[in-house]
């Protein structure tokens, strides 16, 4: 049974078509990344998954439990770290975590609460009032609150936005451990290097549609592979090479990134440039990262063939 099954979900807010029929299946135990620019519909999708919003059409099930008709079982399986830095100023850290446990029907949960706090370096702040915490500390409490009921499926909506390096490392260490123990992780983030290093599989959303869905390694290979970066000191890029440009809109400048299928392509390209009288200032071969893939997909045609 998949951890999350999203079927044809549509959502419209007045004049914005936030989700235009999104379908995704996330398997048990995956570390899944949901990427896309602001306004792509990531948070809307997570809100519907979490029961904070209702889909106009389509359905979502968490471990087989529909999030509307069987919401109790669905929500018990789900831990959500919201994007907004919210907190209840009335309570201390420990009170917040105990109350959150209670909402999930757990009474004596202090052993686990202590363990979560220890893993997120929160123990020292256990009895501090929420109001007195720094932004980073509040973010840790939000993560802890999402984990009080040991949810098999954990959703983190941009958990590292505006967060310092130390917390990022603490957080990913802990989340990766939970993933190894079998928890399914769904992550949205703007830090693509984070998604690249953590996620097994990625979906990219653009304007409410899934435009790419594949294993991270496959996406990296398929969309970017190797690139030859060259800076010309003389001459212009030969017309025959223009189709290889990673950014087809910019073929007249001095600097060009050309897609390579393999290292063997380098020599013929250089030979062609020399034949047309080009000289080089700089040459570099690099492996494309997720950012290149992201940019290519977001600027590319509406839906990439063969995916989904």
């Amino acid at each position: 049974m998949p951890a999350i099954e999203i079927r044809h979900v549509q959502k419209r807010y007045k004049d914005v078509h936030a989700l235009k029929g999104v379908s995704l299946t996330i398997e048990e135990g995956e570390f899944f990344g949901l990427l896309g620019p602001n306004g792509a519909g990531k948070t809307t999708l997570i809100s519907i998954l979490a029961g904070l919003a209702r889909a106009d059409q389509g359905s979502i099930a968490v471990r087989g439990h529909d999030v509307v008709t069987d919401f109790r079982a669905a929500r018990r399986s789900l831990g959500v770290v919201p994007q907004e830095l919210v907190f209840d100023p009335v309570f201390t850290v420990r009170e917040s975590l105990r109350i959150q446990s209670g909402y999930f029907g757990l009474n004596r949960n202090d052993d686990w609460i202590d363990e979560v706090m220890a893993n997120l370096d929160l123990t020292e702040k256990a009895d501090a009032n929420m109001r007195a915490l720094s932004g980073g500390m509040k973010r840790r409490v939000l993560v802890a609150q999402a984990l009080v009921h040991r949810p098999p499926v954990i959703v983190l909506d941009e958990p590292t936005a505006g967060v310092d390096v130390e917390l990022r490392q603490t957080l990913w260490k802990f989340i990766s451990r939970l993933n190894r123990q079998g928890h399914t992780i769904v992550l949205t983030t703007h830090y693509l290097e984070e998604a690249e290093s953590l996620c097994d599989r990625l979906a990219m959303l653009r304007r409410g549609e899934v435009v790419a869905l594949d294993r991270t390694s496959a996406l990296l290979q398929r969309f970017a592979g190797l690139q030859l970066v060259l800076r010309l000191s003389n001459g212009v890029l030969p017309a025959g090479l223009r189709s290889l440009a990673a950014d087809p809109n910019n073929v007249n400048g001095q600097q060009h990134s050309l897609r390579l299928n393999s290292y063997d392509d380098v020599e013929p390209i250089l030979a062609q440039c020399r034949a047309e009288g080009c000289t080089f200032d700089e040459l570099d071969i690099r492996k494309a990262d997720l950012e290149d893939v992201f940019v290519q997909i977001m600027n590319g045609p509406e839906v990439i063939e063969g995916l989904a």
Partner: protein, 251 residues
């Protein structure tokens, strides 16, 4: 069940941590009303035969405090959670709409009754009060606090901003409580206004509550009890439906 208990505990703890503002201050306000109105009207008004005006005033003030504070509790808790965004902590867990409804309503009742009891304790030193029919006192106090707790819940669900809630409070709750016969008997009003008063559901809460003290009221307390109970049922159905549909809570 644990979910409901926790939400109730959280709602009570929320107002209890600021009891100076949520419990002590309303008691102080009611005491001022008693001193000022009691002094001003003492020699001029006799509402029921043999009942001094200040004695007449006390049950009304107690009930008014119960009603206003029950309303304040659920409505301000919800609007604060909405504005600050921490409502998600309650929306993400598997709490049913019945659990949310009961916890918010009961916490409001606790605060309303606590303030009412406080008002009663501080005012009773000034004038003697009798207890003609204690069961009516209890019944109307419970129903009145429940109704306003539910009304506060509905207002909190509906309002998106503090000023909308303030408008609800200033243009609906305050006039209805003040015009419900807290400070006067509706028998003293001209016939037209007496009839208008009968349209105010709060009138029946105060009139029936007062019957419990003096054994005298403007209308039959059983009739008041029936009207107040129906009002409670209607509001409960409305609130449950709003919560079940996620009206303004789950978009």
């Amino acid at each position: 069940m644990i979910g409901f208990q926790t939400l109730l505990y959280k709602e009570i703890l929320r107002f209890w941590k600021v009891a100076l503002q949520t419990v002590m201050a309303p008691v102080m306000t009611a005491l001022l009303y008693l001193l000022i109105f009691g002094h001003a009207f003492q020699s001029r008004v006799e509402v029921y035969p043999g009942v001094a005006y200040t004695s007449f005033l006390i049950p009304g003030l107690v009930m008014m405090s119960v009603l206003q504070n029950a309303f304040s509790n659920s409505s301000s808790s919800l609007i604060q959670s909405k504005i600050t965004g921490n409502l998600v902590f309650m929306l993400l867990p598997p709490l049913s709409h019945w659990e949310i409804f009961s916890a918010y309503t009961l916490a409001s009742m606790v605060r309303g009754l606590m303030v009412g009891f406080g008002v009663f304790i501080v005012t009773i030193w000034f004038v003697p009060v009798s207890f003609a029919a204690p069961l009516y006192i209890i019944a109307f106090a419970i129903l009145g606090s429940a109704i306003l707790g539910v009304l506060g819940l509905i207002a909190g669900i509906w309002a998106e901003k503090f000023d909308q809630l303030a408008a609800f409070q200033s243009f609906l709750i305050m006039p209805l409580t003040f015009l419900s016969g807290v400070f006067y008997s509706t028998h003293a009003l001209p016939p037209l206004w007496r009839e208008v008063s009968r349209l105010n559901p709060f009138f029946y809460m105060i009139d029936g509550f007062r019957y419990g003290f003096f054994g005298a009221s403007d209308i039959d307390p059983l009739k008041s009890l029936a009207i107040v109970t129906s009002f409670a049922v209607v509001l409960t159905i409305l609130a449950i439906r709003l919560l079940a549909n996620g009206y303004k809570l789950r978009h």
